[in-house]
């Protein structure tokens, strides 16, 4: 397995797509979590709205680091990770590199296992880089505003990182299995995005009208991801749909499930996706 992971890390880390998608996520996170709120804060200060200014400054403070870290992951961060994973597995069919790899000696499970582990390492690295960037951005703003830095508790910070890893792991596993199922990067990415950004939101909207459907939508992957972010304190849209962000919250963040249930559900989805992927790879002709 180590050989497969080393091989996959070599090709994934030199893939421009990895860098582009990682860069897009970091830029979005920095922009929406820090730059725009800080600009809004400066505007509120200029307008003399001290109450709003205090709220906005609190949002970008270091104490809010755990929810800030994960607030974008249920929707945009998850979508980006899904795209990366779907491309990582799906492209191998278009380039016919899976065939080349499978004839080099590793078993199919070791080869694709190497891809999954390498992807997990890259995604974990991305979460940690996001954390470092958020720390730097929060500290810079506090310094600019001559505010004391109040660090979050170690447990809260660990929970935030853990939640980020769990959310992105679930989306990564989802993208990887879609890539293998579709045998095509384009179809996998398209299906994944339609599900993550459109279908789940539509279902949650319909569930507001059809009561029994709510039981199902409460257990969807996106619901679990959004609920975990919400459980950490991220502010999201109201449960049951509505105009995302209309209440000032972050799209994708929900308060449907408690943190424990959401975590368990995310772990279960990730496990199911990985097992499904391994079964498909093991039994299907290349």
């Amino acid at each position: 397995m180590t050989a497969s992971v080393r091989a996959e890390l070599l090709r994934l880390l030199r893939w421009p797509t990895t860098m582009v998608l990682g860069g897009v996520w970091l830029l979005m996170n920095l922009s929406f979590a820090y730059v725009f709120p800080y600009l809004s804060y400066r505007s509120a200060v200029a307008d003399g709205d001290t109450r709003l200014a205090a709220v906005l400054l609190e949002d970008v403070s270091m104490a809010q680091l755990p929810p800030t870290l994960v607030q974008g992951m249920p929707m945009f961060g998850g979508a980006i990770v899904l795209i990366l994973a779907a491309l990582a597995t799906g492209s191998g069919y278009g380039w016919t590199t899976w065939k080349t790899v499978y004839t080099q000696g590793p078993s199919r499970l070791r080869a694709v296992g190497g891809t999954l582990v390498a992807l997990a390492m890259i995604i974990a690295g991305l979460v940690l880089v996001t954390l470092a960037l958020d720390v730097a951005a929060g500290a810079a703003i506090m310094a600019l505003e001559s505010q004391a830095v109040v660090w979050p508790g170690a447990t809260d910070l660990a929970r935030g990182v853990g939640a980020g890893l769990l959310i992105t792991a679930m989306f990564g596993a989802f993208g990887a299995v879609l890539g293998v199922l579709a045998r095509s990067p384009a179809l996998a990415v398209g299906l994944g995005l339609v599900w993550a950004l459109v279908a789940e939101n539509l279902l949650r909207g319909v569930a507001g009208l059809l009561g029994p459907l709510e039981t199902v939508t409460d257990l969807l992957p996106g619901t679990a991801a959004g609920s975990l972010a919400g459980a950490l304190g991220a502010v999201g849209e109201s449960a049951g749909g509505g105009d995302p962000g209309a209440n000032g919250g972050t799209p994708g963040v929900l308060s449907v499930l408690d943190g424990g249930t959401a975590s368990a559900l995310l772990a279960a989805y990730a496990a199911v996706f990985v097992v499904a992927l391994l079964l498909i790879v093991r039994h299907r002709d290349i």
């Binding site: 070599l10 380039w95 016919t96 590199t97 499978y102 004839t103 080099q104 002709d285 290349i286």
Partner: protein, 301 residues
């Protein structure tokens, strides 16, 4: 010592109602270059994919190097290039081989050796997507050579190569066989096969219709002669042999007899007053044999 490297028993692959490979029994021996011949769509690539474990047989079995196709223990001793070279387009040729070398568990020296062997070291830093078809094929060959495999399975290895590249590839394959490696290659380029292969298997419509040495397949298929008067020649031949005599265009006659009967036939014809302008064994090219075999099957099916 068992010198059988590849053996299949009734190997069959069906896709829905279509049979792509139909009860194929082939045998590849140690140290030989085995040519797997057949027209497009005959089942060559599907057979090779089953031998590599990329596709599962619908029925029948195959053994490679004493093991199960696709098992890691077997694949570590096999180098393969099937359905064209599949590499990461954004990586250089060298980095692509480094990825494969990591999978195979071999070092960087082997990567450089493989690049040297296929004469690609000077362009190894270029991205794969910038390679010409010929260079892509060479890189595919280099990937197959990593780890000095005991068996090379190559699907149309000269595809996309220029004439010089094709000659290089032929020399390389012969050299590998002389060094003790076994080569199983598929091709529809009969000239290539005739030049480098020790034995060939001919597949048509999914069925193995012949498996033999190249020389045996090209064996003389009779005696051809030009003589006058033709009618007297035919009557004389009918008297001295029971073999069938066929009239061919331009006054030629073909007799289904072994080539060593030429001298006796010539004597009988001259003795009967026939002028014999030319007589000799019919040398059948591999191409003739190929068309005869594959054509027969197509008619039969």
């Amino acid at each position: 010592m068992n010198d059988t490297i590849v053996v299949t028993d009734q190997l069959t692959k069906r896709y829905g109602g279509r049979t792509a490979v139909d009860r194929v029994d082939l045998t590849v021996r140690h140290g030989e270059v085995y040519g797997f011949l057949g027209p497009n769509g005959a089942g060559k690539t599907t057979t090779l994919r089953m031998l590599l474990g990329l596709a599962r047989p619908s029925s029948g079995t195959a053994r490679i190097l004493g093991g199960r196709p696709g098992s890691p223990a077997v694949l570590r001793r096999v180098g393969a290039l099937v359905e064209g070279p599949g590499f990461y387009p954004y990586l250089s040729g060298r980095d692509n081989l480094r990825v494969l070398a990591r999978y195979r568990g071999v070092g960087g020296t082997e990567v450089e050796d493989a690049l040297d062997t296929v004469d690609l070291r000077h362009r190894a830093a270029d991205r794969f997507k910038a390679y010409s078809m010929g260079r892509k094929q060479r890189l595919g060959g280099a990937g197959a050579l990593l780890g000095r495999p005991d068996l090379l399975i190559l699907d149309e290895p000269t595809n996309g190569l220029d004439p010089a590249g094709m000659a290089d590839m032929r020399r390389l394959l012969r050299r590998l066989a002389e060094g003790g490696q076994t080569v199983l290659l598929s091709s529809h380029l009969l000239g290539d096969v005739q030049q480098i292969c020790d034995r060939v298997g001919v597949i048509a419509s999914g069925r193995l219709v012949a498996e033999s040495t190249v020389d045996d397949l090209r064996e003389t298929s009779g005696v051809r002669l030009r003589a006058e008067p033709v009618d007297l020649a035919v009557r004389t031949l009918a008297r001295v042999t029971s073999a069938a005599v066929h009239r061919e265009p331009e006054g030629l006659l073909r007799i289904e007899l072994p080539a060593d009967r030429c001298a006796a036939l010539a004597r009988a014809l001259v003795h009967a007053g026939v002028d014999v302008h030319e007589i000799g064994p019919i040398d059948q090219s591999l191409e003739d044999a190929f068309f005869e075999m594959t054509g027969t099957v197509e008619v039969a099916s």
